[in-house]
């Protein structure tokens, strides 16, 4: 097992090199650069900044270097634990990411936990009542929800319950109210929860379909196994059969799916963060793309790539941990 993990960790290196190199090449290949955009006009060809000053800025930001040399420089610095400085405000990229991460973890974490908490019981219920009205209703409703684009849902919700012409129950945007800094912990928490209700809902409902389907299929497969028949034959109550024998075994594949969902925690949600003006990772990524802030884009891609690859590895390891019948020897 240890050799397996070590081998997998070694395989991360070429993949990460590929991800960062591809990002760098693509960002560089795009017309315009951070200096032009900061200098006003940018790709649109404005003249807000004198040509000499723009040349100066291009030099300072290192944009005049050969892309491969610049990539090498960036890589060398990353190997020394430095993600570089933002080309927009010269703050360390690591600091910018660290500042945005907590909110995204809040948002995506609650959405993820909620969707599993809702979807697994739905899947189990559908499996127990297989083919009956309950099963068909659940399938239809989660499928319907899955098909609603999250941004259309977000807009309609804002209109209906957050300060539109109808109800005004929840705040429309932001992660906290303006005066959140003066609040003590519990009022702050309440304020935060109110701000999170709509975005978290918009990030939750669509994922119900896949998780409930997985748990339904997994339950059905387990229910068809011999040991369930044995459990029933020895006279256990249906409740015991479902909760103790079936559910526990059926949840094994769900754990690995959970691990595969983990990368979403870091990447954030560009669209939902944009709509609700939440300063999270998705928004940082979007504004960096707009400003051609190369090092910030690279930093986010690298962090997201590492987390994604580690989650894949974790999923494979969890397979073995929860099911001793599988080995990678």
């Amino acid at each position: 097992m240890t050799t397996y993990i070590l081998r997998r960790l070694l395989l991360l290196i070429p993949t990460l090199l590929g991800i960062t190199l591809l990002t760098y090449v693509l960002v560089r290949a795009a017309p315009g650069n951070a200096a032009l955009i900061r200098g006003g006009g940018g790709a649109m060809g404005g003249h807000a900044m004198p040509a000499e000053a723009r040349e100066q800025m291009i030099k300072v930001l290192g944009l005049d270097k050969n892309p491969l040399v610049a990539y090498g420089d960036w890589l060398w610095r990353v190997l020394h634990g430095d993600l570089g400085e933002s080309m927009v405000d010269h703050r360390p990229v690591a600091e910018k990411i660290a500042e945005r991460l907590p909110l995204t973890l809040w948002l995506m974490g609650s959405a993820m936990v909620l969707s599993y908490l809702i979807a697994i019981p739905l899947g189990v219920a559908a499996a127990i009542k297989r083919g009956q009205v309950v099963d068909r209703t659940i399938s239809f409703v989660v499928f319907l929800l899955y098909s609603i684009p999250s941004f259309a849902m977000a807009l309609m919700l804002i209109l209906l319950v957050a300060g539109g012409d109808y109800l005004n129950l929840l705040p429309m945007y932001g992660a906290n109210s303006i005066n959140a800094g003066e609040m003590s912990f519990f009022p702050w928490l309440w304020d935060r929860i109110q701000h999170m209700v709509l975005p978290v809902f918009c990030l939750t409902y669509a994922s119900l379909a896949s998780i409930s389907r997985y748990s339904r299929v997994s339950m059905l497969e387990t229910l068809g196994q011999d040991f369930i028949r044995t459990a029933r034959a020895k006279g256990l109550s249906e409740k015991m059969v479902i909760l103790r024998h079936t559910l526990r075994n059926a949840l094994i594949p769900i754990i690995t799916i959970f691990a595969l969902d983990l990368p979403g925690l870091i990447g954030g949600a560009i669209i939902i963060e944009q709509i609700f003006t939440l300063p999270g990772m998705g928004q940082l990524l979007f504004t960096s793309l707009d400003a051609k802030d190369e090092f910030t884009i690279m930093g986010i891609t690298l962090v997201a790539g590492v987390v994604t690859l580690l989650s894949y590895l974790l999923a494979d390891i969890l397979y073995v941990v929860v099911d001793p019948r599988i080995t990678y020897e």
Binding site: T15, I19, T23, V27, F151, M153, D165, I275, I300, T301
Partner: protein, 382 residues
């Protein structure tokens, strides 16, 4: 009278899938909705236009609608009889349409749609106030025509209301269907070509090629959602270009298909029939195209159907973020992105395009779902 057993013996793979698909009422209904949407897209100039279908002036009968139509709109019309021909010839489809022909037709359709797409021109003339006899289309507004009625809520005059320059939303929705539907279709065709080729090569040849391809797929899968698309779109100068959007969505969404095809090929190569073909002296290409691909086509089709739904969603997300098709070109995502600014009062700007996207995506998902059940031989149907 033939016996039932005799019939079943002669039922081919696709006939069986077709029969099983038809037994699913949701899937069938969804398929009909998609066909209706395509029909609406093809006939868009006849459904929403500021020019009259027929008008009579001074005893002269004129058809102004045809004069106002652009070449591309004529080309869209060709698809209607073409689709009807395919529908009535479907019985012979198995014999007439082997894989290379299908591929050629898809490639042709891709280039045709992409090259032929033009942005609508604002034509200020209209026949709404024409004095003599006139027969207007059901929606007497063109999609790019501004009017003084800004932000009119839905009424008899404007079925779905108007936007900030007084453009009729119903007309924009009907014409916008072209953008969404053709982008979904073409992007997935591109993804299919790349994904099937790459995945097929990896699964058939294995070894170092497989290793390299798997690394590439892993690299592409590691990007956070939308990031890769946004970065690639940034490379192109003219973002408001249908072909760029189609190509970028297609070229960034083939990895799932490639994984699927690779897995299917790995499974199929180990079976006796490709080995028998090889023993008879068949070349690699022949084995891949004639023996492996037809056997993997079911799951590929299912995955492609879901792919269309997600491509439509991605396109509308991109327009929403300001990267996809933008005004004046009508697109559902673009109407929604206008809605974001005026959401406190103009609910119709969000509701109607949102509903259109929902219906389209849900139909594709239901068709995919029904196809999945039809293709899976383990699945028992009532």
């Amino acid at each position: 009278m033939t016996t039932r057993g005799h019939d079943i013996q002669h039922e081919g793979y696709w006939q069986r899938i077709g029969r099983r698909f038809k037994s699913n009422p949701y899937g069938l209904a969804a398929l009909r909705i998609i066909l209706a949407l395509f029909l609406m897209a093809a006939l868009a100039p006849f459904l929403a236009n500021s020019h009259a279908l027929v008008r009579v002036a001074n005893g002269q009968t004129e058809f102004p609608i045809f004069r106002s139509m652009e070449p591309i709109e004529w080309r869209f019309l060709i698809y209607v009889p073409l689709a009807a021909a395919v529908y009535f010839m479907r019985r012979y489809a198995g014999k007439l349409l082997p894989f290379p022909v299908v591929t050629a037709v898809i490639v042709l359709a891709v280039t045709e749609t992409a090259l032929g797409f033009t942005h609508p021109v604002n034509d200020p003339t209209n026949d709404r106030d024409f004095a003599g006899y006139r027969l207007m289309p059901p929606i007497p507004w063109s999609p790019v025509e501004s009017s003084p009625d800004q932000f009119a809520p839905p009424s008899r005059k404007h079925w779905c209301g108007t936007d900030y320059t007084g453009r009729d939303i119903a007309a924009r929705m009907v014409h916008g269907a072209r953008t969404s539907l053709s982008i979904g279709f073409v992007a997935v065709s591109i993804a299919l070509l790349v994904g099937v080729t790459v995945g097929g090569l990896a699964g058939y040849y294995r070894g170092w090629l497989d290793m390299a391809i798997c690394r590439i797929i892993e690299v592409l899968d590691c990007f956070p959602p939308l990031l890769l698309i946004l970065v690639v779109i940034g490379v192109f100068d003219s973002q408001n270009n249908m072909f760029v959007i189609m190509a970028v969505i297609g070229l960034t969404s083939w990895t799932g298909l490639a994984r699927l095809v690779r897995g299917e090929f790995l499974r199929l190569v180990a079976q006796p029939f490709p080995q028998a073909a090889k023993a008879l002296g068949a070349g690699d290409l022949h084995i891949i195209v004639r023996h492996l691909l037809p056997n993997a086509l079911g799951p590929i089709l299912v995955s492609a159907t879901f792919g269309v739904a997600s491509a439509i969603l991605i396109e509308s997300s991109l327009s929403f973020l300001g990267f996809g098709m933008q005004a004046p070109t009508p697109s559902w995502g673009d109407i929604l992105s206008d809605a974001r600014i005026y959401i406190d009062f103009a609910w119709w700007l969000a509701f109607f395009p949102g509903l259109a996207i929902l219906v389209t995506i849900m139909s594709y998902n239901f068709v995919g779902e029904a196809l999945r059940d039809a293709v899976d031989p383990r699945m028992k149907l009532k």
